[in-house]
Symmetry: D2
Subunit: 357 residues, 4 copies
């Protein structure tokens, strides 16, 4: 059993990491840190954990926690992660960072979009983008090197954001197979309200969010450069993404609708075949062919469903990816990354069936 800690454990993503670690066969949860509720039982703050654990939240004392664990999950806001990740890396504690701080390879791009100095940019090169279906090999390599005692590669995983995860999974096969015509991608993505975090505000008020749909940050959401980075890598050339998220009345669930043009002469069969092949053998990503995925089918776990439609007149591919924004979009994908860098089976602790209804 490896000893694991969670920083920012009382937020929505953090508590989901906690939930998964509490019944994980390889990790022992030794600390769930959250200054705002330190001293309270986990089950008091989240009654769903009643009977699951007697743990209490502790203060986020980085040095103390670093001395107690082998791996830490950072479920804190951006800029907060880069403030504590170095402490853990220096102590040879693997870092699974759920924030955006190490996702963008280019410092300047990060600083422009996040309007903050990057104070830990020396670690940017070490960080692997935590989207396992895309970066598995790097995650494996990083883990093996660490296992062999190379503290220069103590893992630092920059877990993919929720919108990027669904959007990349929905469109990566087309780019990788060289089917895409041009560099212009339109993404509209619907997210459940938990994506806005645990903080109560006007937008998360039930009477504002229920029975409601509204776009926000249209064309300028911070997940844009992250999606562009990964799709450009998949394409082999710079890709421009126009991304607009839409707040939707669901607690959890994220549906990304990716629209792009396909090269002349490419048939629907070729596209379907590229997708099927790309996700063959994946435990958590399932290509549904021309069935459009539904968020409820994936809520509560690490699975992603991808479906496509091809409009031949304009050679347009409409690719749709559904995930749980808190799980495959955050917590469970983080655990999946942790499984990989620690050399465990990738499905450990994640191989359960979600409620069917």
């Amino acid at each position: 059993m490896m000893k694991a800690a969670v920083i920012g454990a009382s937020g929505y993503a953090g508590i989901e990491v906690v939930r998964l670690l509490l019944r994980h066969p390889d990790f022992e949860l030794v600390a769930a840190a959250s200054d705002s509720v330190a001293g309270q039982k986990l089950s008091s703050v989240y009654p769903a954990l009643t009977g699951m654990t007697d743990l209490e939240f502790v203060h986020a004392d980085f040095d103390k926690i670093a001395s107690e664990c082998d791996i830490v999950f950072l479920a804190v806001p951006h800029t907060a992660a880069m403030a504590c990740a170095p402490v853990f890396i220096e102590n040879d504690v693997a870092v699974i960072d759920l924030s955006a701080d190490y996702r963008i390879h280019d410092k300047a791009t990060y600083e422009k979009w996040y309007k903050a100095d990057h104070t830990s940019s020396d670690l940017l090169e070490r960080a692997v983008y935590g989207q396992p279906e895309k970066h598995r090999a790097e995650l494996v390599a990083m883990g093996r090197s660490w296992e062999h005692g190379n503290t220069a590669t103590t893992p630092l995983v920059a877990c993919a954001g929720c919108y990027p995860t669904a959007s990349i999974l929905a469109s990566m096969p087309a780019f990788e197979a060289g089917l895409v015509d041009g560099d212009y991608v339109v993404i509209n993505a619907l997210s459940g309200v938990s994506g806005a975090g645990k903080k109560a505000n006007e937008r998360t008020h039930f009477c504002h969010a229920a029975e409601s749909a509204q776009a926000y940050s249209a064309g300028k959401h911070r997940h844009t450069p992250e999606i562009e980075q990964e799709l450009s890598e998949a394409a082999g050339y710079p890709v421009n993404v126009v991304f607009t998220p839409i707040l939707t009345p669901m607690k959890r669930g994220l549906l990304s609708m990716v629209t792009l043009r396909i090269k002349e002469g490419v048939s629907q069969e070729q596209i379907e075949s590229a997708y099927a092949k790309r996700y063959e053998g994946e435990a958590f990503v399932h290509f549904l062919g021309t069935e459009m995925p539904q968020t409820t089918s994936v809520v509560g776990g690490n699975h992603a469903h991808v479906g496509i439609a091809f409009e031949p007149n304009t050679r347009t591919l409409i690719a749709s990816g559904a995930i749980d924004n808190l799980d495959k979009g955050a917590a469970s994908q983080a655990v999946q990354c942790a499984n990989i860098v620690c050399g465990f089976a990738e499905t450990d602790g994640l191989d359960f069936a979600n409620p069917t209804v």
Copy 2:
């Protein structure tokens, strides 16, 4: 008071027409026809109407109803409308058709998308597309001619569909002002479940639809040719629309997200100015500038809210339009059209404030 009837009155759109007519200052509802519930009180089938009316649903006896009314609202499925509209037109009864049967000018296009012969194509030329903010002049002209006793122009209004209404309102100003670069428009639109109609089936089951988002008919929904027809007219050249609707867990409400490219050199100010000018003085369409519209602000009435975002790097305009799918997307827009062709004030019976929460 003009005498009005509703055919298909027990469906979601039909009963909303009924609701509006029951308190309309210029129309008297003389018949609410629905074979499936004929003989039952309106308030038995829709308890929300308790205390509003003692009317009972009647059988859809076209000849009888034609003899009793001056204007009829057809809230029936496509193909059913073209089966009865001629009866009413022949009897000099104005027809406000909420179906798709007379929306598409081109018979072949209709027959291709709706997979049905058009049995009333002689009336296609007479029909005016019932989107008042776009076709007000034709609606007025049609009404005036009728008023002067010209039965050759007994009004036939082909009310705009729900997705087209929101999508046209969101993008028409850019096309009309000549700001759009190219002919390629991507539309993702979210609809509440009432858009799927009153029939209970697997998709409309609460346990399927709640907490759920799922695209359907991606790239091939029947509203596509209707949107293309109207935007092409606005543009002055043929426009291609890639349209994907998404079922969203709301009872009512529709949010259209229209994405298109803008000509080089056009500034955001020019775009905003074109929108502001286009909707100046409109009673029911409100341009919110760069505020993104929220469906809940328009649910229950005839208002449409439009907001835009401009992404200058790719010269992309993201235009969002919010309406109530059953009202501005069907029933209340039908009443608005009826007001116009009958020469009443356009806001008669529609000038009320929706619930604020």
Copy 3:
């Protein structure tokens, strides 16, 4: 047109009063006061009012407002109402108070349940409990006396609370007809989240409230003494109420389930007859017999639906009342009371049909 003002106009109940006054035939809204959003347009804070009004929120300057209006609606928290009602009464401005401050006739009872001194208890005797179907005669008398220039009866209406309104309407006929055995009444009532107010907090967060049911203040909610007062009056003897509210995932709507024992020998027919007779001719309260009312049938307006079931074995009456918590439970009932004390038709401004779906 009488001039009307609303204090606390930006809260959920206040803005609903505003909505109703904006299209009321007899009242002109001259001021919508709310310190927190003073200077902002009503339609900025509540986009649903876009196109309905250009008014801005003003500061709650009681003296200034008293000089400008004939009638004021107080949509402020308890204790805040008693701080300003006297100012208006002294200026001969009729007060329609939506708070609890003047509902409880007995000062000590108020002070015990609300844990606050009653600083305006001299007005308690003047106040009429604003539940028109129960206290219409007193409201009429108060209004007529005022109309005749008697400033000693400048109206002060203590509008009924939301839970009390539904609970009283559901059980009053049985008490008034002397059918009830004993003094023990059990009430469970479900309320939509808007009942918790506009303030964003943990309980009103979408992710907490959606898909959730939870009782609160079981057996000790502040509406208990109010219900006891009114049912005791209806019964002619002191009645004990055990009341538990349940937060339910709806924006609006309130369903009260009242359970009480019926005297031996009383038949179901007698009970139904007592209810039918009691609400005969009422414009806003509808007895559905043994049909159980549904909240969605009354959301958005001033109607209340009441249905009953009789369990003969234990002689138990289960009476269910459904209202819109913000309308018949607050804003529209306040307008109904205002109509009565001002001598207008009771249905003025309230006689519209709600959305049917």
Copy 4:
């Protein structure tokens, strides 16, 4: 591994049993039977199971299935269960019946409430009521006897209904401790829409159920005799239950509000102590003291939360129990019963943490 089959596997309760068996350490799912979808993959009908299993639904051929399994779960409607249970019992296959057919000990009572002849009443005496926290000893004894080869005790478990489970758990400790005054119990219980089953009809239509609350079968729901039977047994004297369920806009979750009178002289501390003691050591039932339980805390798993409030003036106990109607109210409780009669650890396959948000 014991071989398990599920009859009625495509309904909401059946598929939840399937979900739990798919990852159960002691049971191997050998057949999921459902005539209506026989031949289809489980993951086609329930996409949430994609990647979990390649099984297909099979026809409900009782003899064939009886020859293939050691234990069968009957997730079929009442009357259908008694038609097939004997086949399995005769073949020495343990029967875990989720229907109502063997719950009521008294044949006449069953026949009166279910308006059907009981065609398998010889098995009534064998059946144990499947509410493990109340009947664990009998379940254990039945299992042990079977294990010793006594086919006269091949287990037949009549799993408790959803409303009874929550209501019994909420009130049993007070009855067993002799604290209750009298024999009169009022229960109002809220259920999510999945309780109405998978069949699409008017009541389960999203547009009817969303944002809606409505009582049904008030005072005459079929779960009444089941609750009376169990509470009478707990009390030691006949108890009368007035039970009214309320359909609430949640997919899953059930909240029972039980109201009863407490004997004079009994303090709140005594009540709390009785509850705490009763559920001490239970893995799945948690007494929250005076915290009121919330359905979302238990949705997705086998846990039940119970909280109480005591109103001393009328000596009224308000006891609230929250469960997942499909899990602790059906599928997971059935698995818990199966674990017990098969001699497995009671928590096997059920010891996971639900989504926290």
